[in-house]
Symmetry: D2
Subunit: 334 residues, 4 copies
């Protein structure tokens, strides 16, 4: 049994991690931690997330001495803010823990990226070099050796799972950037008091047009420019992305289908649609990314759907841990 610490366990992703690790046959929860300043310290996780009542009734401990928590853990999940993860990851790594970071702090191996898009100076370029980007379907080899896994962002997971087979097979024309229209549930903004998240203010609307951090994350890992327009939707969970691309002349629907089936034939958490495209409800509460597509002439439209808190965060983190430690890829997830 791997001794597991979850830091940032008060948030929505933290609660999902607690649920998965609780029922994992080879991992157990050593401790749940929150920042030392958090007003949630001392409460039970099931007070904040009552769906866990009767299953995970553990206290949220203030993260006072990192070394004490580290000494008691084999594995650490960081469901923390970017700057917090940036600072915590090296401490837990030094103590010998394997770290799965769900923030953006180690996703792109380029310190300039952090300066531009996250507004801080990255202090750990060697860790950026070492971190494995946990897009699980594409990194199973590297994950087996990983000490630090940077779990991808919610939007980038769906976008890359849809686009990567096409780009790797050179099926898209380079002259026209893929247009990614993405709609996310409100939980993507985290568990906090904010007018923009309040029930009466939430309404379908784009945000961060041309400026969202996930655009360069997607571009950096795909090696291609994209137009990425995120929207806030009037629902709690899930992401649906509609991606419009231009194929190279002569590329057929069959070639597209083949690229997908080759990429994901034996990947249990990507579900390909032979006909039709996914709806959001197909994936909410589940660890999958569902992908469907349609072709007309040289136009390709792909639709990818996932639960932003699961395949877009907690489930992919656990999937990475399963691959890292040699458990079944979907252990505790389905």
């Amino acid at each position: 049994m791997l001794k597991t610490l979850i830091v940032g366990a008060s948030g929505y992703t933290g609660a999902e991690l607690a649920n998965y690790i609780h029922r994992h046959p080879c991992m157990n929860i050593t401790a749940l931690a929150v920042s030392a300043q958090s007003t949630d310290a001392g409460k039970l996780i099931s007070d904040l997330h009552p769906q866990l009542k009767g299953r995970v009734d553990l206290p949220l401990q203030p993260l006072l001495e990192v070394s004490e928590f580290a000494a008691a853990a084999d594995v650490v999940f960081l469901a923390t803010a970017h700057e917090v993860s940036h600072d915590l990851a090296p401490l837990f790594l030094q103590a010998g823990c394997v770290v799965f970071d769900l923030s953006g702090a180690y996703r792109v191996n380029d310190t300039a990226f952090y300066h531009t898009y996250y507004g801080f100076t990255h202090q750990h370029p060697a860790l950026l070099e070492q971190a494995v980007y946990g897009l699980a379907e594409w990194q199973s080899a590297k994950l087996k050796e990983a000490k630090l896994v940077a779990v991808p962002g919610c939007y980038p997971t769906a976008a890359q799972l849809a686009l990567k087979p096409l780009i790797d097979n050179s099926l898209l024309t380079p002259e026209q950037w893929p247009v990614i229209n993405a709609i996310s549930g409100v939980s993507g903004a985290g568990r906090k008091a904010a007018l923009s998240n309040s029930f009466c203010e939430v309404s379908l609307q784009p945000y961060g047009i041309f400026t969202h951090r996930h655009q360069p994350e997607i571009s950096a890992h795909l090696g291609t420019e994209v137009i990425f327009t995120p929207h806030l939707g009037n629902f709690a969970r899930g992401i649906l992305e509609t991606i419009t691309c231009r194929l190279k002349p002569g590329v057929s629907q069959t070639q597209v289908a083949q690229a997908f089936s080759e990429a994901y034939a034996d990947k249990p958490l990507v579900r390909l649609y032979e006909k039709g495209v996914p709806a959001l409800k197909n994936v909410v509460g589940l660890p999958y990314c569902d992908i469907g597509f349609a072709v007309q002439d040289e136009h390709l439209i792909m639709v990818a759907a996932e639960d932003n808190l699961l395949k877009g965060a907690a489930a992919q983190a656990v999937q990475c841990a399963n691959l890292r430690f040699g458990f079944h890829e979907t252990e505790s997830l389905i």
Copy 2:
């Protein structure tokens, strides 16, 4: 044209008031004010409430000198917190304004009530004595002379409109308290950042069981005890109340129907249902309170629905103003 000031115009009720006064043929908006500390001061109301864009693009002014605002106004609507209304109402009255207060500060003529349920010592018992409780269908005579109108709470409006005809006609048995189960949209909690209002936290749930301030407001004005259980619903606007009562032995369905039709036959903003009961959508965005009922043996179930921001707040305030100044009762409302 009555010169009209709206204080607290940044909130949901303030925006509805602005909409009604803007289109009122006999009233116009002199100024929109917010508290001097508000971060919204200086913004346009249509920046906060974009549905008003192109119709009401006026600035939200900080309420620095009450006397200046008062001098420029004939009529003042206070869509402010209880304590703020408590302090402002006498200042505007002294300046000769007619005041419509949408808070709880002047609703119950009993200083002890404020000590117990609102946590402050009421400083203006003479104004409590003088204030007219603006349950419009029942107070048209008093409203004609009113200087200070205390517009009823959202829950009490629907509850009293349903119960008052029965109580005034002595149709209910005194041994059994009416059970009021009420469900309100989230806008009832106001426009503010709060975890409890955040999209992912809102979920159908009772709150304030046995302790909500609206229970004593209802009881005081009806002159009878009630059990009042408010619920937060997963929708932005509207209130639906299901009220279970016991009739006196021998009281018939016809007597109940007659009590309602006598009370509201010529009241344009109460709509009685001859068959069936109202659904929430029947009233959202509209200034009505809809009432339906069913009788079986000595059991009576009434269903009352209204838009909490309209008949439960802004529309009833304007209805009171219409009655006060001799305009048509529904002017600008339908």
Copy 3:
């Protein structure tokens, strides 16, 4: 491994049953059946319920020859209409299957009840006599021997779990009927095309006032009269019931708490709240019934919440099967 047949597998409850049985370590799905006339016959269950894609991709077979299906099954779940269950249950029983019926066809041992509330003449009074009412927490002894289990209705499950400890301990005054206000998600109406279920028509509203079939089901099993007012809510899943009662003079909050803890201390699927009351989201997607309460003077308000498709249907059916066959009570459920 128990060979398991699910009849009515195209519906929402059928899909939940398929999910539970699929992951059950001691049961497996032998076949999924739908009525011979169903246009869904021949489709995969995952075509209708895409959340099952990749896990349960079995075809929906037309129920042409009951005897063939019966011969291949040890256990049958009937997620079918009342009249269909009425006819099918004896056929499967004759073939030696253990039958779990999720309809109302065998819930009340009184043929007159079916004439009055279901509009048909019950042909199998001997089976009514023999059927075990599967309110699992209260019937574990009888369930061990059961051949036919009548799984309770969704509303009656929550209502009885809340009321039964009080009634069995004689804590309520008989003079005042408990008032049950219940709000259900739209899935309670089943998977079908109907204007009343259509997205734009659904709106919070009571229905079936004084006439809903679940009122006599509750009364018959509790042995007391109740007032039951169901409402349709604007959400897909879940039931929340707010139950207002009058205690006998002198009954204390402690006695109420004790009645609950004695009844459910070792019952894993009833979660008692020491403080506060449940919200709907606490139980959606989960097999629990959550119960909280508040007392003031002689007034008691209880709040019970469950997922109507799970503890109100599929999960309770599987819980009954677990008790029947000696598996762990929560096997495959949590």
Copy 4:
């Protein structure tokens, strides 16, 4: 007062038309009609649409003799199915009525279009020639003389209002087709029983990819190819369209802004955003189309929002009628 007939008054658009015409100072409702076979014939419109109760309590009459209805009307609104409008329009025109058709039957002056996209052979090419396409902001001159107005589809209204200023000013590169991602509320599917519209089945999802009829309607009127991907959203009303385009080299943000302000400076029902982009809630229940945009390098993203039943149907129809008869353009609409 213009005598006005509404055919198809049982639907959502019909109810909105009834509301507008009822409060119009220069038009009144002569009759509300439904198809002779409709089970709604004989009911009051306020039985079907209770928000109209107390305001429009008129019966829905079966359309038995068109000539009789036509003889009593100056103006006819057809809120009917395409084939029905196709047949009815000439009958009402012959009788001297001015006809506003809200279906697709007369929107594109090309009989082949109807064969391909609507599946019927158009019998009235002369009327197609004569019909004025009622994109009100762009057709005010032609509308003044119109006998038959083909009110645009809901999606095409927002798409064209956003794209037309750019195309007319030749600001877009012809090499890259505009990508229109549109999300509509469920009311766009009409008032009817259908599994796809049922509350539990609705979930954010694209539909009609590459095949929706509104794509050729948009292309035909704009004179340019577009990629149009409609989505069903989990809300009752409103459309939000995010449109991604490529500008010609050197075109600046200022030029885009100028194109919009020149097009809509004096158009009261198009609201331009100087900063930010519209959210859905800004327009629901209102007759506006709101447009905002952002430019980065040669990429342009526009966001257009409207209420699909209002600016996308009923409000635009009344706006066309106002322009046709010389009333104020927004009469009865705001």
